[in-house]
Subunit: 379 residues, 2 copies
């Protein structure tokens, strides 16, 4: 039997979602990657038009103090409170932090059950660290009793909340239940909360995690999916005592600190722009989503998603019988000037699924309109 | 027998050079880390006072094109030419690239001979990837015939040119000889050239490496040690065919691209400020070095270095009998307001050596003067 990650090692880089996203840089319309490529909102503009002054200020402040300020402000925007006893580790990106998550798991977790679908670099980086990864369906995240069979079987459980690209999240009560099950089975719980800011149900994860006796946990935060800051961003890793020594060791081998300018800029975005800007961003995304749903409602090829996802991406389903090879469909759309990603990348273990292409919505309205015009012409 | 890396695993993070450098952030005078913390030179100022405009421009250019531009400009400043057939991988930092170097070596190099002294995260990250690391003395870099005994014995040879903190480098003829020996023994050659811009002897490494038949190689470039850009930086990894698949795979799991703003800023620094600015930077460093050597020539405790190192750091030797515990000496200096690093961190395998503390010279002249005043008072 083929192993979903082992057996495509040759040129695996050419098959990753990131590969398709990098190729999309040169497309006329790049709606591939989930990074923020839109004009700043009014709230963001107050900060983003002030870069020189923020740079000059950042030269004068202790970077460790700036890290603390960023973590506090960013968490506040997302309705989170940093637990007193936790030392956050601030990385250049969520992905760099994810590599460290993998290594920290690998110390004594031989296996991880990882949600599917999700962005493929999550299982890739955990697997690269030497942890065996096994997929489980995202629907189980909302069904703790069914999930218990998985929790019992593996050393760690890796979930993405809200999940990418579905936008599925869970209630506080469900997270409490999952956390308790993990603790009782001595299974570590790792949550990638990179898209947290788009969630409509922002309860404090940390209160749940630190409130669960004997739970070993890690949480990854990412500023990069929220602000229109041209990929000036940070990945923030927090973890319980069991994982901290290894994570801190790797942090100290990898980073002195990310640029104090980036730390201050992101702290200012969260403080100045703050929750108001998050509302503006979400409103912008929802406008773009309506453009897609409205513009393609009569498409004979694409069926827009109908769920109430708040995530900054949108799924368009299509008939697998018409396009049996998703790469060919993506190449066809690229030839029309439009770069997207396909569901195959998110179903990282190759599980059969209802196929779709994914549009990034963190773009200017005009870009989404032009993309919809291209897609609407497909017959 | 103790193993230099295995047996201090508990709280190893608290023993790294980076740990001491982070602690130094809060010191009155931080001359610990080798990062650039000085006012920009006139050449740099032209670019660094223009951040808002560079940001706006960076929003409009394909990041892959910006990567290529940065690599070309940065290499040109250092007298290097990118070989046509090589695809550079641009990371957030030299250290992130170094983690990837480790993983790429680990594919089929079980062992690495790593130069000592050098910055400790080089052996740490290679070791963390699963490669056994063994130290060899930096003096052997200039003696290829003696080095052959090492090259024959290990799967890979890891050197830093110029080396940190000694500033030792080698001639083109010597690198040619080392490259040939590595090729003939099927030993991979990895060069960390992070401090390359400070070298007085800037021949083109890539011409030597690609000109050596059957040589497997990797080279790491780092913009972070040169420009006064508050740690806005990039690490550039280039490697031969043997290492590229793994390095590219990890790149694609870790990065879409670093911020286009940072790519353009660094490209502009190299293009606009260019070789003129490098001369200004080196002149600034040499002025600071003179302040140290002159100001401490009568110190009963510290003996300034006397070599003609161009590196942006300076060593101060002292009598081990007077200060048998280096950490206590460093703590004592911190209590006076001055943070430095000690030779123990660079002698990562714990080899006996002539002890010293290291001063970072990429600081404003006034900071170096104040540091010297503190050190001169020690009796």
């Amino acid at each position: 039997m083929q192993h979903y990650l082992k057996d495509n090692k040759a040129q695996r880089d050419q098959l990753t979602l990131t590969h398709f996203e990098r190729k999309a840089f040169s497309a006329m319309l790049n709606l591939a990657d989930g990074h923020v490529r839109r004009q700043p909102t009014p709230g963001e503009s107050k900060v983003m038009s002030n870069l020189q002054s923020i740079y000059e200020q950042s030269l004068k402040i202790d970077p460790v103090e700036l890290e603390a300020r960023l973590v506090k402000e960013q968490l506040a925007v997302c309705g989170q409170v940093k637990p007193n006893e936790i030392t956050p580790l601030v990385f250049f990106s969520g992905s760099e932090a994810l590599g460290v998550v993998g290594e920290a798991l690998a110390v004594d977790c031989k296996t991880a059950a990882v949600v599917e679908p999700t962005f493929d670099n999550i299982p890739h980086l955990i697997y690269a660290a030497g942890v065996e990864v096994t997929p489980f369906s995202e629907e189980l995240m909302a069904k703790p009793r069914e999930l218990e069979g998985i929790i019992r079987k593996y050393h760690s459980l890796v979930i993405t909340l809200p999940n990418n690209p579905s936008g599925i999240s869970i209630s506080k009560a469900t997270l409490v239940e999952i956390a308790k099950l993990c603790a009782s089975h001595n299974t570590a719980l790792m949550i990638d909360a990179s898209f947290r800011s788009y969630s409509t149900n922002k309860f404090d994860f940390y209160a749940v995690l630190t409130g669960t006796k004997d739970l070993d946990w890690m949480v990854l935060e990412d500023t990069g999916k929220l602000w229109a800051a041209n990929d000036l961003k940070a990945g923030i890793l927090m973890c319980s005592e069991r994982f901290f020594p290894k994570a801190s060791e790797l942090f100290h081998d990898l980073i002195l600190s990310i640029s104090p300018f980036v730390l201050l800029l992101l702290a200012e975005l969260a403080r100045e722009a703050g929750k108001e800007a998050v509302k503006e961003v979400i409103a912008h995304i929802q406008t773009n989503r309506s453009i897609v749903r409205e513009g393609l409602k009569n498409s004979p090829i694409f069926q827009p998603d109908t769920t109430d996802s708040q995530l900054s991406v949108e799924r368009l389903y299509y008939d697998e019988k018409v396009y049996p090879d998703q790469r060919k469909l993506l190449e066809h759309l690229t030839s029309k000037g439009l770069a997207l990603t396909g569901s195959g990348g998110y179903y990282w273990a190759g599980t059969k699924h209802k196929v779709f292409v994914r549009l990034a919505l963190a773009r200017d309205k005009s870009a989404v309109e032009r993309a919809v015009a291209i897609l609407a012409k497909e017959t």
